[in-house]
Symmetry: C2
Subunit: 140 residues, 2 copies
Amino acid sequence: MKFSIDPRLQKDCFVLGRSTFCHVLLMNNAAVPWFILVPETDALEIYDLSTAQQTDLWAEVRKIAEFVRSEYPVDKLNVAAIGNIVAQLHVHVVGRRHDDYCWPDVVWGRPAPEQYAESVALELRAKLASHVQGFVRART
Amino acid sequence: MKFSIDPRLQKDCFVLGRSTFCHVLLMNNAAVPWFILVPETDALEIYDLSTAQQTDLWAEVRKIAEFVRSEYPVDKLNVAAIGNIVAQLHVHVVGRRHDDYCWPDVVWGRPAPEQYAESVALELRAKLASHVQGFVRART
């Protein structure tokens, strides 16, 4: 199987690179640090992954969550596997602040109030590569 | 430390019992199967738990997710740690259907369209006790 990231995710996000099991995307919403991990699988639910794959997935989610907490002023992490709109399995990691644009509501279903300049996304990609063990940046 | 479940969660949910690490709650929203796991910890983020505790938490979330998939007609599982309103660490496991009351939107922030009769919650508690390994029902 040739794996490809769902077109809607590609449209809404920058594809930054990959960790061992997951592609790492940045939601194009500059108001909150919002990363999406897309494991390279055709399973649609976490619980259809093997136990070993689930362990890998949560370990990679943890690395991105720790990156978010170390790099941003974060009051709360929101970590979620939803998939109601994009069926391809993906996990959201969102760093929330008490003064962000939709606190305390969830970010899903809200339009992004501001987008990234591409240069900012590229800087973030470089930062992930130097701070997150096992992260390999996408070529583009 | 004497652990107690957050008052808002107690108000919104039935406390069904506990798994090894987590209390298992049923959100009082009869329109979707919606369980909440509350690990017995004062950590507010998953990533402040020890690695062993994180493994236990995800294993218990998995058991509840598998219960939901086996007992309900579910098109998609939504699994999320949010905590913007109730800070106490908790993980949502929600079984969604394409024809449920707020598909494809997320359930958070939407009022429950219908509540459970207490007898139904008690039946569910008994079903968890017989179907989910390690689940011990709450005394009430």
